[in-house]
Amino acid sequence: MAVGVKVVNRPGSFAQQLYVPAIAEGMGVTFRHFVKNFFGNLVGMRGKTDIQTLQYPEEKKPYPERHRGLHRLMVRDDGQTRCVACMMCPTVCPAHCITIVPEEAPDGTIEKRPRIFEIDELRCVVCGLCAEACPCDAIRMDTKEHAKPVYRRVDAILDREELLARSAPSIAVQGGQGAFWREKTPGNHPTTQTPVDGEVVPRGLPPGPTIPKRD
C-alpha cells in the first residue's frame, strides 16, 4: 500500500479564510435538515423525515419472537388453566419468585390445579427457566410486555387472575404428540418450524427500523 502525502496550504484561499462561504454552506445543511424534519413531522409523514426517534410508549420497536417478558398462564379449550400444579417451575426458578398452592381439581382426569399461583415480578430475573420446565405449556413469557412500575412492592406480586388475564388457548396437546412431533403439526412450535411445500419460514429477528443513507 503506497502512502501518499497531501500538501494542504495554510491559510487556504481567500474564500476559505473569509469563513462566510463555509458558514453559509453549513447553515444550508442544517436548514435543509430542519425544513425536512419539521414539515414532515408536522404533516404526519414521519417516514419521509430523517428522524429515527421512536416515541415510546406509543411506538415500540418490535421484539424478537423469543423475547421473554411478563408471564402469562395458558388455558385449555374449556377455559380452565392448563397448570396442574406439578411444582416444576417453582423448583427450577433461581429467584424463588413463584408460589403455588395446589388443590384438588373437580375434574376426574385432571388431578391437581393451583389454588394460589403468584409470581413476584420484582424478584423475577426473566430467565425463562419456568417456561422451559413446564411440561404442559401452562406458563409462557411471550407477552412482549414489561413488568409495570408500582408504588408498593406488594402490587408487583401478580396473582393467578392477573396472569390469566393475558392468557390464550394453547395449541399444545395435553400429553404430547409423540416422537415425531415436529412433522405432525408444522408451524405450531415457534422455535422449530418445518417448512411445508416451499413455504418460507422467517428466521432471525423481525425487521427493525430502516436507517436512511447518510446525508
Partner: protein, 372 residues
C-alpha cells in the same frame, strides 16, 4: 377634581408608557424569550434529526410540548436556593439582576409598530397625524447609544457572578466572559457607525421611517458588511454559540456554576431576552423594522383605517423578530465553538479593522453622493 387624560397631558403620557412597557416587555419579550427556551431545544433537535421535548401537557392538551417552558420555570422556582458560604452575599444576589435588567431595559428604544393616530384611529385615509402615539417606549435622540451603554452594563453581570461565587473556575469563566463582551462591544459600535452615516440619525424610529421607501433602502442592502459585522458582534456579545466559551456547556465551567434555582433561571432567561431584543435591534436597523416596502401606500390606496395599519405593523415586526431569533438559533448548531484565543483574535485583529474600513468607505460614498 377631574383628571386630565387628554392627549399630551402628563397622565396620558404615563398611562401610555405603562401600557407600552407591559405589552412589550411582559407580553412580547418575556413571552417570546420563554417560548424560545423550548423552541431552541425543539429546533436544535429537528436540525439534528431527532425530536425535541414534546411531552409536557396541561391535562389533555399537549400542543407539541410548548408548555415545557412553564415546566422549566416551575422547576427553577422550586429548586433549593443555595448560596455558597464564603460568597459575597450582596454581589451574589446582584449579579443575576445586572445580567437580566439591561436585557430588559434596552427594549425601551425599539419601535415595534407604526404610530397610532389618537382620536382618528378608525378614520380611513388618516395619513397625517397631529396626535400620534408612538409605538416606542422612549423616543430618545441618542437612541442606539442608549443600547450600547446598557449592554456595557451587562458585562457586570457576568463578572460579578464569577467573582462573587468564591470559586476559582467560575471566576476564570467570568474573566473570559467579560473580556469577550468588552472586545465585541467595540466592534458593535464601529459596525453601526456606517448605518448612522447612511441614515443620518441615531434614533431608531427615524431609522425605520427612512427604510420605508423601498426594499433597497433596507439597512442590509445599503450596509451589507455592517450587517454581517454587527450580527457577529452581537452574537458574541450575548455569548451565544459559536462564541459561548464562557459558558461552554459540556466543556468548561462557566461563571454561573454556583447559581441554582431561580438565580440561574434569571441568567438563563436573560440570555434569551438578549437574543430577542438584539434581534429586534438588528431588525430595526437593518431589516426595515415594522415596515414592509409599499405597505403604507397599499393601505392608503384601499382606505383602511390607521388602527388596522398599526396592528399589521406590530404583527410584521413580531414576525420579523421571531424569524430572526430562529435564525440565531439556527446558527447555534451549524458552527463549531471558537476557542478563547481564536475569539479574541477574531474580534480585535479581523472584525475591528474591517469595521473601521467599512466606516471609511461609507463616509466617502456618503460624502460624494451628498455633495452631488
Amino acid at each position: 377634581m377631574t383628571l386630565d387624560t387628554s392627549y399630551g397631558s402628563l397622565l396620558f403620557t404615563i398611562i401610555a408608557a405603562v401600557v407600552k412597557i407591559l405589552a412589550l416587555l411582559l407580553g412580547f419579550g418575556m413571552g417570546l424569550a420563554s417560548i424560545l427556551t423550548w423552541m431552541e431545544r425543539r429546533q436544535s433537535a429537528m436540525m439534528q434529526d431527532r425530536l425535541g421535548p414534546n411531552r409536557a401537557n396541561i391535562g389533555p392538551f399537549k400542543m407539541w410540548g410548548i408548555t415545557h417552558f412553564m415546566a422549566d420555570a416551575l422547576k427553577f422556582l422550586f429548586k433549593e436556593d443555595f448560596v455558597p458560604p464564603l460568597a459575597h452575599k450582596f454581589f451574589f444576589m446582584w449579579a443575576p439582576v445586572m445580567s437580566m435588567a439591561p436585557a430588559l431595559i434596552v427594549a425601551a428604544i425599539i419601535p415595534f409598530g407604526a404610530p397610532l393616530c389618537w382620536g382618528h384611529a378608525l378614520d380611513p385615509h388618516a395619513t397625517t397625524c397631529e396626535t400620534p402615539v408612538l409605538f416606542q417606549i422612549a423616543r430618545l435622540d441618542v437612541g442606539i447609544l442608549f443600547y450600547f451603554a446598557l449592554s456595557s452594563l451587562s458585562v457586570y453581570g457576568a463578572t460579578l457572578a464569577g467573582w462573587a461565587s468564591h470559586n476559582k473556575w467560575s471566576m476564570m469563566g467570568g474573566m473570559r466572559a467579560s473580556s469577550q463582551m468588552m472586545s465585541y462591544e467595540v466592534t458593535m459600535g464601529m459596525a453601526v457607525l456606517g448605518s448612522f452615516l447612511v441614515y443620518g440619525t441615531l434614533e431608531p424610529g427615524a431609522m425605520v421611517w427612512k427604510q420605508q421607501a423601498s426594499l433597497w433602502h433596507w439597512g442590509i442592502f445599503t450596509q451589507p458588511l455592517g450587517f454581517l459585522l454587527f450580527l457577529t458582534a452581537s452574537i458574541a456579545e450575548t455569548k451565544r454559540t459559536p462564541f459561548d466559551i464562557p459558558e461552554g456547556e459540556p466543556e468548561i465551567i462557566g461563571y454561573f456554576v454556583e447559581y441554582s434555582g431561580l438565580r440561574f433561571g434569571m441568567f438563563f432567561l436573560g440570555e434569551f431576552l438578549e437574543i430577542v431584543f438584539s434581534s429586534a435591534l438588528i431588525v430595526t436597523i437593518f431589516l426595515g423594522g415594522w415596515s414592509l416596502p409599499g405597505l403604507q401606500d397599499f393601505w392608503i390606496a384601499h382606505g383602511w383605517s390607521n388602527l388596522g395599519f398599526v396592528v399589521a405593523t406590530v404583527l410584521i415586526w413580531s414576525a420579523k423578530v421571531f424569524l430572526f431569533s430562529a435564525f440565531q438559533l439556527l446558527i447555534r448548531w451549524s458552527l463549531p465553538r471558537f476557542r478563547s484565543d481564536q475569539l479574541m483574535q477574531l474580534g480585535w485583529q479581523r472584525l475591528l479593522p474591517i469595521s473601521v474600513a467599512n466606516v471609511l468607505a461609507t463616509a466617502v460614498v456618503v460624502l460624494f453622493t451628498n455633495s452631488k
